[in-house]
């Protein structure tokens, strides 16, 4: 298993170079989706099978188009026009596009591509057309990589399409670390796993011998922090994703550590440490192993998350009597309460864009995933169920993934995603139950 993972990561070398093409500047035209406005009508587009330059490339040409379409349509912002509606076919990547034929089927965007397989090397070229303007949208691009990395190349194409049409960063070429769950509630087995954001390429990183909780990606996606009961007591481990090697971060005698997260510098970890029944926040420098105490109150302080600039930490505390959200300077000090609505607030996570805090809210026996501005204003609940918790942000700060646990003796945990306007709630495919997702940054 370790070998497979290592070769996968090493095998992916993706280069993006512009395809030599006439228009030297990006034309925005009317083809534009404003995500923040809460799109009601998805934008119709077509993505014909990528043109293979040999019989060997035919399958991958079709597969690329399917993954690109799954990415785009999966956002809820785009609607694919099926191939059986096409009037013209794309059989030559270099030939001029018959705009009238695509206009006739109301395809506002057209993604056309070509694929070359040479040994274990895959080359993907593509162009995006704004059909109603009758022009290309931006330059064509070319990606080169290993054939077994074809899904990543499809995600990169989809990211380019999404990004050019919405003006936002993409998020498809990303991974999700999570806890894979099997067994009934009273005998739940948990193991650490990682997969592509869409549920493909699942790899297990631990066995189920020890209970594991809440993996958290490093800022560049190379490491995971997580909590494991390997010693019988919860301790924080840091795992090298490529080598699948882990070590305990810190384990002072007589304490429990959990809820770790990296600082944006990737060198500092903020976490909760329980001692004598009291849970407070600490930071630890991974290099020097120097621990610094941030809070010292008899209340519970946990679930810390850094602001993207590393200057502040949002966390939850029951110092007011119930679980609420607070922000304090990264070095500790006076905290400002930011949650004031009805109910309890926990698991705050700072958006990668810095503008919002995602959280879990518990009110009247229901759980919600929500977002609020960093001053606590404009609270918006995105979901409601028996038990939703643990939001994680897509790299572009526009989509949230979280855990939903169903009720009762046969209750099961699964992953869901929802966009920050509360639309497009979707289950995320995992082989077994899934919880505690952590969304990676966009892959390099």
């Amino acid at each position: 298993m370790m070998k497979v993972l290592a070769s996968f990561l090493v095998g992916i070398v993706v280069l993006a170079v512009p395809v030599l093409a006439p228009p030297a500047f990006a034309q925005q035209g009317p083809l534009r989706i404003e995500i923040t406005e809460g799109v009601i009508e998805p934008l119709p587009y077509a993505v014909p099978d990528f043109v293979p330059d040999s019989a060997a490339a035919a399958d991958v040409g079709a597969q690329l188009a399917r993954v690109i379409a799954a990415d785009l349509s999966g956002t809820g912002l785009f609607r694919e026009i099926p191939a059986n509606a096409f009037i013209s076919q794309i059989s030559d990547f270099s030939a001029p596009v018959q705009y009238a034929d695509w206009k006739a089927i109301n395809a506002q965007a057209l993604v056309a591509g070509a694929v070359n397989v040479s040994g274990s090397k895959l080359t993907v070229r593509f162009r995006i057309y704004d059909v109603f303007s009758g022009a290309e949208l931006g330059n064509g691009l070319q990606f080169v990589g290993a054939t077994d990395g074809w899904r990543r190349m499809a995600h990169k194409v989809a990211d380019a399409v999404y990004s050019r049409i919405t003006g936002e960063g993409g998020y498809f070429d990303s991974r999700v670390a999570f806890v894979s769950e099997t067994g009934p509630k009273n005998d739940r087995r948990k193991r650490l796993a990682i997969m592509d954001y869409d549920g493909a390429n699942v790899q297990y990183l631990t066995d189920s011998a020890a209970l594991v909780l809440a993996p958290r990606f490093s800022p560049n996606g190379d490491r995971l922090l997580y909590t494991s009961y390997e010693t019988g007591f919860p301790q924080i481990y840091v795992l090298d994703v490529g080598k699948v090697k882990r070590r305990v971060l810190d384990s002072p005698e007589g304490t429990m550590s959990f809820a770790p997260r990296f600082a944006p510098n990737g060198k500092t970890v903020v976490f909760s440490l329980s001692q004598g029944g009291n849970t407070d926040l600490y930071t630890l420098s991974i290099g020097s192993r120097k621990r610094h105490r941030l809070t010292s109150a008899p209340s519970i302080e946990t679930a810390p998350s850094f602001s993207p600039d590393g200057q502040q930490i949002v966390f939850e505390s029951d110092r007011s009597g119930t679980q609420q959200l607070y922000i304090m300077p990264a070095g500790g000090g006076e905290a400002q309460r930011i949650s004031f609505g009805k109910g309890r607030y926990g698991t705050p996570v700072w958006s990668p864009r810095g503008d919002l805090i995602a959280f879990t809210k518990q009110n009247k026996g229901r759980f919600h995933i929500g977002v609020m501005r960093i001053d606590g204003s404009e609270e918006r609940l995105l979901t409601a169920s028996f038990l939703d918790e643990g939001p994680t942000w897509a790299p572009n700060g526009r989509v949230i993934m979280f855990t939903r646990e169903s009720q009762g003796a046969s209750g099961r945990a699964s992953l869901y995603s929802v966009d920050i306007t509360g639309r497009n709630l979707r289950p995320v495919r995992t082989p077994d139950g899934g919880s505690d997702p952590s969304w990676s940054p966009l892959q390099q």
Binding site: M256, S274, G346, D436
Partner: protein, 169 residues
């Protein structure tokens, strides 16, 4: 479920001693177990055994929603544990704190830590050496009852004293 039913369910989980007269619960079970005097080593009739501790002293106490305060029943059980541990000095213990599923994962870990520690502090105050008692929290990760209503939640909000060492391991 009737109120009596609820009380009985609760008592089945709590130590036998804590429930003897309050509810008319009769401790035939405990009497029978002990009727033969010292029985098989390690069995529930051996008063130095883990099984005896679990069944006759009571290995767990329960908590109210989102609380870590000891109830009167809880204190009675813990007093029994303290007495037993003072006699059976070969044993050490890990006290596990648990929460029900109504709460977020991290908060429940912290809440379980409070509960385990509340039990530990009581035992220490009754003379059990702190060096014999470790605490661990499992938060909501290890429920014993799996329904999603108060009947189950009540049994899951617990601190359980797990013995280690001793003659029977």
């Amino acid at each position: 479920m009737s109120i009596l039913g609820k009380v009985l369910t609760l008592c089945a989980v709590l130590a036998v001693s804590a429930c003897t007269n309050a509810t008319g619960y009769d401790d035939t079970n405990a009497t029978n177990l002990n009727s033969g005097g010292i029985g098989e080593p390690g069995s529930a009739s051996d008063p130095t055994s883990v099984a005896y501790f679990q069944q006759n002293v009571g290995d767990r106490i329960l908590f109210a929603v989102d609380q870590s305060t000891l109830s009167d029943e809880g204190r009675t059980v813990l007093q029994g544990q303290a007495d037993w541990l003072s006699t059976n000095t070969d044993y050490t213990a890990v006290i596990e704190g648990h929460a029900d599923e109504q709460g977020t994962r991290e908060y429940n870990l912290a809440l379980g830590a409070r509960r385990a520690n509340a039990a530990r502090e009581f035992l220490v105050s009754r003379g059990v050496a702190g060096s014999r008692l470790k605490v661990v929290s499992f938060g909501k990760e290890r429920p014993i009852e799996i329904c999603s209503d108060e009947n189950c939640y009540a049994k899951n909000r617990r601190a359980v004293t797990i013995l280690t060492g001793g003659l029977t391991g």
